[in-house]
């Protein structure tokens, strides 16, 4: 059925909305909240949008005219009074697969692929998606389901294909503040002829994601075409995953995981592996920090994840190596986008005051990747990585990557205002609570205030005197700093 489109200047964030007159809604037997398919008949190649139905109370709108909210109007590339096709939407078949999963069944490759296709094409409602997450959370996803989910995410998203070269990648199971190894590993690896096309995330609940920190130094919203070229020329990049549609299904699913902070293990594994699979990585290094206040707090849990990563890797024909690292305290000094970028910059420049723990971790991980990619002989990777970093080759490569990605609009500096958190007693630092460290940086304004965050001055084992600074909190807003002082929970144990 054809309607004349007009734009209603309202944005909803992620939903497409079409507003019918009461008579038209009655004629089509549509209720508010129903779903319909919309198509611009002039665009032959674009698949139809699924939109939610609202009903107009505005008498001035004539029957036969269909109001479309901004995103809907724009996505369909319509102009006022252009024709738009409306068709009724049947409930997708995949709803039955979701129900089966909720009831504890295992899904096969075809069913999973069909679900993810519907997810990406927005044919499933949030309620239906929620049941998928609930079923995956309670019953788990088997290794086969997880591998099939990985393939489905990749198949229904954007991929970057390289014809030449060995592609390696890394991933860190998060929770350690300041852990910005990626920005060091990529230039080291890319200097050797291996390819490391790295898409990273922005922060959701942490003070900074790799993409937030990289953004201080370079543009991170780069198209897939351009990223491909950069990887071909420079061997690697550090870009924001959300800037390309790799693992597009993830963004849809995360929306309904968020309210209960659910992170079904199989979905997490598939989401990580999909990003590697989509760029053709054959060798993947997984870093699992273990510590009391990070995502993985028990060695047993780490061992379990290691097994699953390796099994799923085999099913996907990828070499996956999993290492356990120290997750008991922050890495480097800075926490927050610009403060972390300062650390990275110091390590790349071999500055005298560069944080050695960050450098060391990046070299160890680079070493493994060089060995996995057959650029270094067994046990020679670390040495090779060190040589590349200390000779300035990594810095030169990093600068070329930055230039290729484009200039950043940010400065490399600390927040304008700061205060020191002082030791309440003399003694030795026994522990630092990572979650409290992250919270302080968040309250200071990170990652939205790029210059907010903190510098960790004392680490575990350091001797401190009463009233000696333990960390410095930075922000561009005085009010934010006051907020930190008012809400501060002391993150150090000293005895």
């Amino acid at each position: 059925m054809e309607f004349k489109a007009y734009n209603i200047p309202i944005r909803t964030g992620h939903k497409y909305v079409a507003v019918f007159t009461p008579k038209d809604a009655l004629r089509l037997d549509l209720q508010p909240g129903d779903r319909i398919k919309l198509k611009n008949p002039k665009l032959k190649k674009v698949y139809p949008l699924t939109a939610l139905v609202d009903i107009s109370d505005d008498d001035s709108v004539k029957d036969g005219h269909l109001g479309l909210f901004s995103e809907t109007f724009k996505t369909l590339m319509l102009k006022k009074n252009n024709k738009v096709d409306v068709s009724n939407l049947e409930k997708p078949e995949t709803v039955e697969f979701i129900k089966a999963k909720l009831n504890g069944d295992r899904l096969d490759a075809k069913q999973i692929d069909a679900i993810i296709k519907d997810v990406v094409e927005d044919d499933l409602t949030d309620v239906e998606l929620t049941y998928l997450v609930a079923g995956s959370h309670i019953h788990g996803l088997s290794d086969e389901e997880t591998a099939n989910l990985t393939k489905a995410i990749v198949k229904n998203g954007q991929t970057i294909k390289f014809t030449k070269g060995t592609i390696v990648d890394k991933h860190c199971i998060g929770g350690v503040p300041g852990n910005r190894t990626t920005m060091l590993i990529v230039p080291i690896i890319a200097s050797t002829g291996l390819k490391m096309p790295k898409t990273s995330s922005r922060s959701i609940t942490s003070p900074s994601g790799t993409a937030d920190t990289m953004e201080i130094l370079a543009n991170v919203t780069v198209t897939a075409d351009k990223l491909k070229k950069i990887a071909e020329t420079e061997g690697g990049f550090v870009s924001w995953g959300g800037g390309v549609d790799i693992a597009a299904a993830d963004d849809h699913i995360i929306r309904v995981r968020h309210p209960l902070s659910l992170d079904p293990e199989g979905m997490m594994l598939a989401s990580i592996m999909a990003k590697k699979y989509a760029v053709g990585s054959k060798h993947v290094l997984i870093d699992i920090p273990v510590g009391p206040d990070v995502k993985v707090s028990e060695k047993m849990q780490a061992e379990h994840l290691k097994d699953r990563f390796e099994t799923i890797g085999k099913l996907l024909k990828m070499e996956v190596k999993v290492i356990f690292t120290d997750g008991t305290q922050p890495i480097g000094q800075g926490v927050g986008p610009s403060l972390e970028a300062i650390d990275v910059f110091k390590v790349l420049n071999n500055a005298a005051d560069a944080p050695q723990d960050l450098k060391e971790k990046a070299l160890v991980m680079s070493g493994y990747l060089l060995e996995m990619g057959k650029k270094a002989k067994p046990k020679q990777g670390y040495k090779m990585a060190k040589e590349i970093l200390e000779s300035g080759k990594a810095l030169a490569k990093f600068n070329r990557i930055v230039k290729a990605q484009g200039k950043s609009k940010y400065e490399l500096r600390e927040g304008k205002y700061h205060f020191n958190l002082l030791a309440t007693s003399s003694g030795t630092v026994k522990s630092i609570n990572n979650k409290l460290i992250s919270k302080i940086a968040r309250i200071a304004g990170a990652p939205i205030d790029k210059y907010a965050g903190l510098k960790v001055l004392k680490k575990i084992g350091d001797k401190v005197k009463k009233d000696e600074p333990l960390l410095t909190v930075y922000a561009d807003s005085k009010a934010r700093l006051s907020g930190v002082k008012e809400n501060l929970v002391f993150p150090y144990k000293i005895s």
Copy 2:
């Protein structure tokens, strides 16, 4: 924070929506899809509405002005440029309870009450509610949880309190077409001084609900105040439950159960018992039809439900009697609102062609209720019910109830067009598929076309000759009748 309100003439069905300018949204750190609280500062007694955030693309709207969709604007009783208070909404505490339920924990009375309060006040999103349904579906609700859910639904909805009299009620676990005993039982019971304030549902997936059929004869959208008066004067009524806010929480939850057709047992039990508890019923008769094509197809399942009803009844201090009835074929002749009302009318009038199975079932059930309510001695209930019905007392009572509820706007007639479904062979009727019978009536247009549906002419055990009519299908639309012919699956087995 105060805004100036203006109306955006769009209806969404069930969601409240507030549209901010981009600058205002930035200032309040709001994203599309976030939730806020809205309050009309002039209305002191009304609790705040929870609304979803959209963002305007309309440059002509000034900052400080807040667009509200029709339902939101009206519910807050605002006029253009009235002040409206906006406050940020923290995630409700009950989200943690929902997560616990999803993870298999049992919830206590306080937690359940808090959840239902948030449900009714619209403080939980559809996604959060969906997790509640998923958790209840997979892990089940214990008897204690179900009794507590019943109490919570009643506490957070409308109740009708009677100071005098014994209140009885009945409920049928559905699936049997034409099963309109309620409209006979209520006038029989109400003739004896017992009270039977009956709220019934409209059809969701069947050809007619009791409320749809009653609507042929009387108005069924009656306020709680008026219903109370009718029950005080006449002893009973048959009204639509959705017309009053008894079990208001149900309507919210059903929205997210619908997409996967989930009906978690504990939620179903609580929903049934809440409607009895809310009007103070002390004696409840539950009818469980058992047959291959109704909700309960196995005797074991019926026994299980019987146990649960009785246990939950005890926890709620109600006498609950459960009977198993024949669910193998339709009851009465008519299927569809008006066609069923014709059957009821014939039984009340003691017409010669009144369907005896409908009459018999209504008398048996009335008999039990009269005994439970101590109006009849043990085993004397059936006889008493029969006397009331056959003497015309029930008809007189029914007419008074109809008068009190108000006149119907419908006629009591069959659909304008009809056709007969003929026997394909001679023999004896072995079975009738209830689901296919319902489907035929639905395709004919029931319950939206009040006069559509069918009359069952032959029942199990009847001898038929080839080409003899088995049933007559009615509709007010010729096109609908053609639709039935095209899609018909033969519901009879004859041999």
